[in-house]
Assembly symmetry: C2
Homo-oligomer: 381 residues x 2
């Protein structure tokens, strides 16, 4: 083992017990020496993305959360209601590491040239188990960040940037010429605006609050619709007429929004319809749900004819579609624009232990747009 | 004009007035001599399909229906609520003929050889305006029925048979190996069972009542799930495990059923899943809504991961996909099996005037499985 690499490391774990209890804790695990093609990365920054929170909290009812343990080794428990427990059957009684992506410094490397080349470099990683002080990983899975890039700049180099590029690519592949996005003032939404501005793709931003509209206006967004406004349906239809957008990516999932988007798309298409069709327009209208900020049921008032589709959209499915070469190209683009197009902003940095404090969970667990946490395992927050 | 062809004919019309009123009536219209490539068909049978009722009743509230006019020329009026009126904007104040399909005898023909060849033949037609005593139509749009086939046998030669063949074809094109169908004891559902039995396609039938299950059992259906049974979710999951069905065609549309099907598909796939995936299974699950027997909102409790799609399915879209040649092949198959695979059953025959009696509307307007009306314009019911 190289100097500075401990034989053990601390890892955040999420465990759902068959008795209906979630337990979050920090667990000391062995950190074996890297194999030939592996490196050990000192994790210095890892974001708390909505896609992480699903695994972290499972179906637990966070209003029942309790804190025990010590300041250094906090333990959080919460009840998992029976219905939620059934949905979690596949992970019950398995202590699961968490954290999709992160960045840090390579502190040990296996004997292969590829691994050795990474020694001392700052790298970004995708692959789970990032909420830890150290992460062993294959050298090939590391994205080397340009010189002068801090770990905190590279912590969100995969999920949001690749999702944004995936949305634009999916739009083109499926024959649409403009996009709709919800929860549009998020870090991801801001990136999407920058990419769409660069590439001249008309983008309709749907936000839930006036102050979120202001954030987007400032970065140059042209079409912004506030779903809390009484004129929302008309505003959205007008924006859809202006842009011709017939595909949407929805981070919310629950409630009426997905159906409202389809209805407004249909109304927009029909504004120029030559004659009445009882089955609605023949223009295909697509909404992809890619997040679940609202976990309540999706309600569709089917006033949008018969030519429509609503479905799930998953980054990993998209990357499989474009293949390893296409994925490598997308990653290279992200690395070169990490401080500009794909820059992320965090409202707070917390250590692993701080991430398990109830008052912090109460904030980042809400998944409110504009509240994004970064875990920095080796730095006091 | 040939002997026996009047210069005028009676046609059923549906009119939604801007003031918010539906008016159904019989209107005498001119029946011009056929052009060279046209024929005039004496319409002898035309079904009241669910797809016709949408155009016939629009968004009217049938509980407000009133009858006026005479026995020969009845007029039905009903209120159209404001929300419904907005959805009907494209057809307001246009008196619309109704009736997707029908069959009858060619009583006059244009001078072309193709038209002349049809004189005296019994033909089936698709193209609207079939609720009439006569229908002028292009010869090329007529499907000549085999000798000995009555008009009542050929009245439903298009919509249901082609929809059934379209479902099986769509299943294959999209890479699935078994089917789920709802409202499965309908005329269409029975046809689908016969086609699937012929072609060894496993079919899961979802019905809403025990007596409908009995109807299907009698014609050889193997997998039947009653959505009114307390064990429905388990029954459906078991049937999905047994068949491997990952695509469904749903005639209901509203309520929770579409989402329940997706949930059971996910549960069925996960029974053999090697390990927990937080995004659900990677097997694509598809539900197509092709009808709207329940007009209430569709409610999706999204407990089926991220690899799914729900969309509208329309016969006309499918026929465009297979093209004119593919469509002609499907039609030829239907014509040759009209009395067997594609046989329809009607609970009642009514004249045009009888179809506008309130007590008849109260029955066929319900779209209850097992209640199918046939309009016979020239025969007393």
């Amino acid at each position: 083992m190289s100097a500075g690499v401990p034989g053990k490391t601390l890892q955040l774990r999420s465990l759902i017990k068959a008795a209906g209890e979630l337990e979050l804790s920090l667990v000391e695990i062995d950190l074996p020496s890297p194999a030939d093609d592996e490196v050990i990365v000192r994790v210095e920054a890892s974001p708390l993305n909505p896609s992480d929170l699903g695994l972290l909290f499972g179906a637990a009812d966070l209003t029942t959360a309790k804190a025990t343990g010590s300041a250094d080794r906090p333990i959080v428990t919460a009840a998992v209601p029976p219905a939620g427990l059934r949905a979690m059957a596949g992970r019950v009684d398995q202590s699961m590491p968490v954290g999709n992506e992160g960045a840090g410094t390579v502190v040990a490397a296996g004997s292969s040239a590829a691994a050795q080349a990474l020694m001392g470099r700052t790298v970004a990683m995708l692959g789970g188990a990032m909420y830890a002080q150290h992460r062993g990983i294959k050298a090939a899975q590391c994205l080397v960040l340009p010189e002068g890039t801090r770990a905190s700049d590279g912590a969100s180099a995969f999920v949001n940037p690749l999702t944004v590029l995936g949305m634009v690519d999916t739009m083109r592949r499926e024959g649409h010429k403009a996009l709709v996005h919800t929860a549009a003032a998020s870090n991801l939404g801001q990136m999407l605006n920058r990419v769409c501005l660069q590439e001249n793709v008309p983008l309709v931003n749907i936000v839930r609050k006036p102050e979120q509209a202001a954030v987007l206006r400032e970065i140059g967004a042209k079409y912004i619709c506030d779903s809390s406004a009484p004129t929302f349906m008309k505003d959205l239809t007008d924006a859809l007429v202006a842009t011709g957008a017939t595909i949407a990516f929805d981070a919310i999932g629950g409630g009426k929004l997905a159906g409202q988007i389809l209805s407004c798309m249909e109304a927009a298409v029909n504004r120029s319809a030559p004659e009445y069709s009882r089955y609605g327009s023949s223009v295909h209208k697509q909404v992809y749900i890619y997040g679940g900020l609202d976990r309540s049921p999706t309600e569709l008032v089917r006033s949008f004819g018969m030519t429509w589709s609503l479905g799930g959209w998953l980054l990993f499915g998209f990357l499989q579609k474009v293949g390893p070469e296409g994925t490598a190209q997308l990653k290279a683009r992200v690395a070169s624009e990490l401080k500009t197009t794909f820059a992320s902003h965090y409202t707070k940095q917390v250590t692993l232990a701080e991430a398990l404090q109830l008052d912090e969970i109460a904030v980042y667990g809400k998944q409110a747009t504009g509240t994004k946490y970064l875990i920095t395992p080796h730095k006091k927050g």
